[in-house]
Symmetry: C2
Subunit: 501 residues, 2 copies
């Protein structure tokens, strides 16, 4: 076949060319979003919002134009390889979800979310639940309508339709099975760990910790984690995130002078996301199968870094001398004390401050509430009573009347983001499952980590997760990487070994 002759898969090829065009425009979107969070002066905000909205609308038109959908149908008839079929599987899924929603409904939802989120910024500190309800009700109504339309198109339940935006194929049956198991043993485990840790001595690091030293420390730890600074940056933003594009990953953290561990471990977390992005398969970058698999899998990478590796005694041994170098010596930087600091369990009101043991309780509570909300089983005004009951049941905490540190604490619901919360804890469980698989494959793994050699961890993740992009469904990926579907027993075993071993 000469270079000029027509391919046997002209429609598939045209679809891929269109995907590449969209990826190039999404590149500009990613950089402009990163710039807004890290560089943009305040008076640039309005013009930037308009510019980003213009590009979003353009990308939406490209994703939903009829010719694109027709192309998918025609390409499905072409003689494709398995990998090419996987590309179409991803395109089909996105096309179905995107075209199930009338544009006006999406715009109305974006507006309602912007309004509710803006009001929430002052309602949260004011503990103003009643005020919040006023803006939240129309937003919830819109989310339910979107969920209903996508559920009908995709043939799943309404809440599943929203979860599918972040974790395609995830069913409530799976989440119920997994969270149902965890619910059985988690409250007792939390209490056991708290009881045991009560007897341990613990030294708090003494600040202040100069910001330039913190920044240098974070960059050194990122290098330890093999982040490629020729293909990415570390910057500062109000809310840490990992953005940019695979060829140029932009991650952020935030620093405070009185405390350095949050910024540091936040950076370790984002570095997990970042390495997944940096190591996505280069040959597939513009193709659907070259994208990260899903948000639960993404979180499984950040939590492999922050929790599985970050709480490992071998990582702590590497960290200790770097802290001394950054801030000078102090007793709190002794490895055994550092280890206790990094694995201290303390049930609290706030999800983002939670330790890895009590964290799933926060997620299970939110899952149960938002699922019932979207399915129409409860109304917005029912949230506080459910919140109070579940916090008492799962973590033994009294949250009555404290909306500020209760249902008003997260930005997700005020922004209209439903169905994401399960990904956080599924990610933690996948991370435990990956490390269990790693240990089976590499019997000397822990000894190597303790000797400061993290390469086996990175190599395993690269081979089994990063290099696979979206080649497989999440379930296939889990099977191929670990020989089984998601099993929370690995997470339980991890917690028992680390916290009760």
């Amino acid at each position: 076949m000469s270079a000029m002759s027509a391919t046997a898969t002209p429609t598939y090829d045209a679809l891929m060319a269109q995907c590449a065009r969209m990826a190039r425009l999404e590149h500009l979107q990613a950089i402009a979003v990163w710039d807004r969070a890290t560089q943009m002066p305040p008076k640039g905000n309005e013009a930037r919002a308009a510019a980003l909205a213009e590009l979003s609308a353009l990308l939406h038109r490209m994703r939903t134009e009829a010719a694109f959908g027709d192309g998918i149908v025609r390409a499905e008839q072409e003689p494709l390889s398995d990998e090419q079929r996987a590309d179409l599987r991803e395109l089909r899924r996105r096309w179905d979800a995107d075209t199930a929603l009338p544009e006006a409904l999406v715009e109305q939802g974006a507006l309602a979310g912007a309004r509710c989120e803006h009001a929430w910024r002052s309602q949260r500190p004011a503990n103003d639940w009643a005020g919040f309800l006023v803006d939240f009700r129309p937003l919830l109504a819109n989310a339910r309508e979107q969920a209903a339309r996508q559920a009908e198109r995709l043939g799943v339940s309404r809440y599943e339709a929203l979860m599918a935006r972040y974790e395609p194929g995830l069913t409530c049956a799976t989440v119920d099975r997994v969270f149902g198991e965890v619910r059985q043993w988690l409250p007792a485990l939390v209490q056991q760990v708290v009881e045991r840790q009560r007897r341990e001595p613990l030294l708090e690091p003494v600040g202040p910790f100069a910001l330039p030293a913190q920044r240098t420390l974070c960059e050194r730890v990122m290098r330890l984690l093999a982040f490629d600074f020729d293909a990415g940056r570390l910057d500062v933003s109000a809310h840490p995130f990992c953005g940019g594009v695979p060829e140029d990953v932009r991650l952020t953290t935030r620093f405070a002078e009185h405390e350095f561990l949050s910024a540091l471990m936040g950076t370790v977390h984002e570095t997990g996301h970042a390495r997944y992005q940096q190591r996505l398969p280069r040959a597939w970058l513009a193709r659907p199968i070259g994208q990260p698999r899903s948000m639960a899998i993404h979180e499984s990478q950040s939590l492999s870094f922050e929790m599985q590796l970050g709480g490992h005694p071998g990582f702590v041994l590497q960290l200790a001398p770097r802290l001394v170098e950054a801030f000078g010596a102090q007793p709190a930087f002794a490895p055994e004390n550092l280890q206790r600091l990094l694995t201290r369990v303390k049930p609290g009101f706030i999800r983002v401050d939670a330790d890895e043991v009590s964290y799933p309780a926060h997620v299970i509570l939110r899952y149960e509430i938002e699922r019932a909300l979207i399915e129409g089983e409860i109304e917005a005004e029912d949230i506080p009573a459910l919140w109070d009951a579940k916090m008492m049941e799962l973590l033994g905490l009294d949250t009555r009347g404290n909306h500020r540190d209760g249902a008003l604490q997260d930005v997700h619901w005020p922004s209209g983001l439903f169905g994401y919360f399960p990904c956080y804890s599924l990610g933690a469980m996948y991370a435990a499952q990956w490390f269990a698989a790693m240990r089976r494959a590499l019997p000397g793994l822990d000894a190597r980590i303790e000797a400061g050699d993290f390469a086996p961890v990175f190599d395993w993740l690269d081979t089994h997760i990063w290099s696979q992009g979206s080649r497989w469904t999440t379930e296939e990926l889990a099977q191929r990487a670990s020989g089984q579907a998601l099993d929370p027993a690995h997470f339980k075993a991890h917690l028992q070994r680390r916290y009760l071993g």
Copy 2:
């Protein structure tokens, strides 16, 4: 008329909506270009180039689609205000120029320019004129072809067609008149000034000058020049520029430890560009008349800041204490010495290092050569001999065999950028003309500048230049601002007063 009723100018309105869409996409382009120069790690380059090319192609399609051209014709029949007619004048001009070029010719030119510029980076240090010619000939051929097509469409000469990209309406007759006058008195004036300055004592500042102190100094001077840091930033790039968007102006400089005046005065120069951008009329931002008038007018702002104001004794008086604060006291920072440093005249090979007196010689030489090149009166191999003769005639310098510091010194020709050079010196002449008009309108101007009050300068520029955007042609703007067309006599008078007064 109710809000829902149709306007009397539906086509004009649709054109403006399309202009707003393009401006929003150009916003993302500007930020991505700035990011590439200031933030992007090396491995991001290839993907960024592809992303920017995608957006350029998209914008080109939007600018040249037939419906847009038809819209201009139909809108010209609508009942429009004078301002709206000025919008159409700008659209018509751009449309004619953009659609005169076949896409393949533009792409071929971009490729030839990229190839020539890339080779030039090593040919220049190697003084390799013969090697340069190999890549430059096809680039020149392409530029001539583009010039011929645009000249035919616009009804101007070939070189005028290229100048029109930067300075619409500028004729060779005007440039010949202006440069012809300057040519008469410049060589003698340069020699006179050099002779006079030979007798003056001059102290060089003694470094090193710490980079953070230089940066703080530049920011303080930018504040002195009323740059709005809530609507812009200062960063570092290899080649200083002023980018971003009017609501968020991104300017850059570059620092060297051994010498601070280049970075500082480069920053003053870019701040002139930046304030023009920041003060463009807000109500017209998305409209053609809301854009900067032209590159000669843009340069007239940067040179108003760097040369007219930056070399003024009143500015030097403000600068001196800030230098002491940044670097500690030293004899070179005495205002009289600083004044001499900022106004030292020394003919040299390199345009970008030239003082304001000898600078026009560099531009006149390039104008005469590139005009003849584009018109086909000479060939590329004729350049060195012409260069040598003109450098000897204008500045008394022998450049024979020194291509590195001769025709290979600028990035313009290797990039295929012809027709821009005149803007630099026309900008310097307009700047002198603006200050002459200011002095006529405000008799106490110099006393106020000497007292450290620059507000009258900013107010005059704001009223007469910045707030006018592209409301008028350059010639109309000059008439309205200064009562006359461009007259180099003001520039001559400025040089005589400052250097021989």
